[in-house]
């Protein structure tokens, strides 16, 4: 019974749309079950075009869009339900709250066909669910960004839509505000269970929300699965790509931390072989198995150097080592550090003076997880 109900609510979109102005073609075919489906991709990948097709704001050239068995668009049958008949919630990137209406009037806007009492009751319930009942009489222009997001979500959900589309609605918010809003949205969806297409270009959001991820690139679906399954297979190493990295090291995957979106690799120096102790390094998670070999590229300018063991850092990698040499190149100092593997670090002249760096000095290197770029060997 429950399974039947879920099947009734699955969004199926098979869409082809050529955008006339550019030469862009969106060509996708996917199912989205109730819950979050992250639509991930760079800008220009076709994410908003896809949402606009589902909402009915854009008419695809061909294909079919349906929820359960109910078609919203079917090119073969010349069916194109107008936007207002689709009952799809859509929160735009700029939210599009009505500036001339109060928060309460904004939320009530889509309920005008209901009797007054029910309208009030539903509005009050959803404002409470998104923790903004105290703003009912404010105007969108006078409340904070996070509050506006909450109002926009409440307005889109109060009509009980069959699908919710979110176009990067939280990008402008700080992480804490974002996390609280996501929690409230999750809580709402526990009770209602509808497919939510959540568009983002942020890797962090993919891991934070990820039940299912759809990777879009150039209008096509590159991959569809859990965040770990689909996210960023290591890049093909090429001369051009290597050119920017002063440090390119061999590494073996030691362990995966899918929940944190990271993994631990062991570094070996490529020339000197494996006689030295391997250095553990936390890197972004890519599609790779434990024991597989990769290359890690780290820019010399992305590494911080400290003369005492640093504490309280957000960076995941603090590696002790010994300063081998300092070379002045124009206005930067290129330092070579042996920390089991040899790494090049770029410093300013002022940093060398302030830290009184000399060869032989003990130093600590600080490397952020996302400064480690993984490439295929």
């Amino acid at each position: 019974m429950d399974r039947d109900k879920t099947a009734e609510r699955v969004l199926h979109a098979q869409v082809r749309k050529r955008v006339a102005a550019s030469d862009f073609v969106l060509d996708v075919d996917f199912h989205a079950a109730p819950g979050f489906t992250i639509v991930f991709g760079a800008s220009g990948a076709g994410k908003t075009t896809l949402l606009d097709c589902v909402a009915g704001l854009i008419q695809p050239d061909s294909g079919r869009i349906a929820i359960g068995g109910q078609a919203l668009f079917d090119a073969a049958e010349h069916l194109h339900l107008t936007v207002e008949k689709r009952n799809i919630g859509y929160v735009f990137q700029d939210l599009a709250l009505f500036p001339h209406l109060t928060v309460e009037e904004n939320v009530e806007y889509g309920l005008s066909h209901l009797p007054r009492a029910e309208r009030n009751q539903r509005t009050a319930t959803i404002l409470a669910a998104f923790r903004v009942p105290h703003l009912a009489r404010s105007r969108p222009g006078s409340i904070s960004g996070g509050e506006r997001q909450r109002v926009a979500l409440a307005r889109a959900l109060v009509t009980d839509p069959v699908v919710l589309l979110l176009d990067e609605p939280l990008t402008a918010l700080d992480a804490a505000t974002k996390a609280r809003i996501i929690d409230d949205l999750r809580a709402w969806n526990e009770a209602h269970r509808i497919p939510i297409l959540y568009v983002t270009h942020s890797r962090e959001e993919v891991f934070a929300l990820g039940e299912s991820v759809l990777v879009l690139d150039g209008g096509r679906i590159l991959a569809h699965g859990t965040p770990h399954e689909v996210l960023s297979a290591p890049r093909q190493e090429s001369v051009a790509h290597l050119a920017g990295f002063e440090n390119v090291l061999d590494a073996t995957v030691e362990s995966l931390h899918a929940d944190r979106g990271t993994m631990t690799c062991l570094l070996y120096q490529n020339e000197s072989g494996a006689q030295a102790q391997p250095v553990p390094l936390e890197t972004p998670l890519v599609r790779a198995g434990v024991g597989s070999t990769l290359r890690v590229g780290i820019r010399a300018g992305d590494i911080l150097l400290a003369i005492a063991p640093p504490v309280g850092l957000s960076a995941r990698n603090v590696i002790p080592g010994c300063l081998l040499s300092l070379d002045r190149r124009d206005v930067i100092i290129s330092a070579r550090v042996n920390c089991g593997v040899e790494l090049e670090v770029h410093l300013t002249l002022a940093a060398r003076e302030a830290l009184q760096l000399e060869p032989g000095k003990d130093v600590w290197l600080v490397i952020k997880t996302h400064s480690c770029h993984l490439m295929q060997k």
Binding site: V83, A96, P99, H100
Partner: protein
């Protein structure tokens, strides 16, 4: 020196009727111009703007032809009412509507175009029909443009001369407006009367526009269109 109050009331009545009718006629035309994607739309825009550049005598002349007893429209009107449209108050209203059309339609459509399309899309996703969206989102957010359009129509009709002279002639109580009265007084060398009438018209038009621009400023403060970014 005696101001022709009859001419004043006639002009005021004409301006009010024309403003009201143009508000109703102008809204759908402006809406179509703002939102249509028809490729030949620019032709319609050009036709609507024509009265701005056309000499009023040209417009008046064609109106006389179209409203006169030799055109189908004129004959239809005669069969309906027993007299021609030319040299009547109704004829004056029709002429003024055409003459002031761009002064209503252009501010209307400019303000419709400036309403964020995403707001209109948002309204649609909330299940609201395009017509209701027009009255609940587009019109309230276009208030400054609508007020400006109505005010310009009113002021423009108050001051028109050429079309009135061509279509209405100079019949006291029926088609003699203030501007024609001033012309008559100057022709008769009654400069004092002409001066008083002209000054009164100037003051009325200024007061009218000042009130409108004052209201508009307030409208912006109450509902800033782009205030939420």
């Amino acid at each position: 020196m005696s101001i022709d109050w009859q001419a004043f009331w006639l002009t005021l009545r004409l301006a009010l009727i024309v403003s009201a009718l143009l508000f109703v006629i102008g809204l759908p035309i402006a809406y179509w111009i703002a939102f249509s994607r028809w490729r030949w739309k620019f032709l319609i825009e050009a036709i609507v703007a024509l009265p701005i550049v056309l000499p009023p005598t040209v417009l008046g002349f064609y109106l006389l032809v179209v409203l006169g007893p030799h055109s189908p429209l004129g004959r239809w009107w005669i069969s309906l009412t027993g007299h021609t449209l030319a040299f009547t108050f109704s004829g004056l209203v029709i002429g003024s509507i055409l003459y002031s059309l761009p002064f209503a339609v252009q501010p209307f459509s400019a303000s419709f175009s400036s309403v964020d399309r995403r707001l209109i899309s948002a309204s649609a996703t909330l299940g609201v029909s395009p017509l209701k969206t027009f009255f609940r989102v587009t019109v309230p957010l276009s208030k400054p443009g609508l007020i400006t359009g109505a005010a310009l129509t009113f002021a423009h009709t108050m001051g028109e001369f050429g079309v009135v002279l061509m279509v209405g002639g100079n019949i006291p109580g029926i088609t003699r407006t203030v501007s024609i009265e001033i012309f008559d007084q100057v022709q008769a060398s009654n400069y004092a009367t002409a001066n008083a009438t002209a000054l009164l018209l100037l003051v009325i038009c200024f007061a009218m526009l000042a009130i409108v621009y004052g209201l508009n400023r307030k409208a912006w403060l109450i509902a800033p269109i782009h205030g939420q970014r």
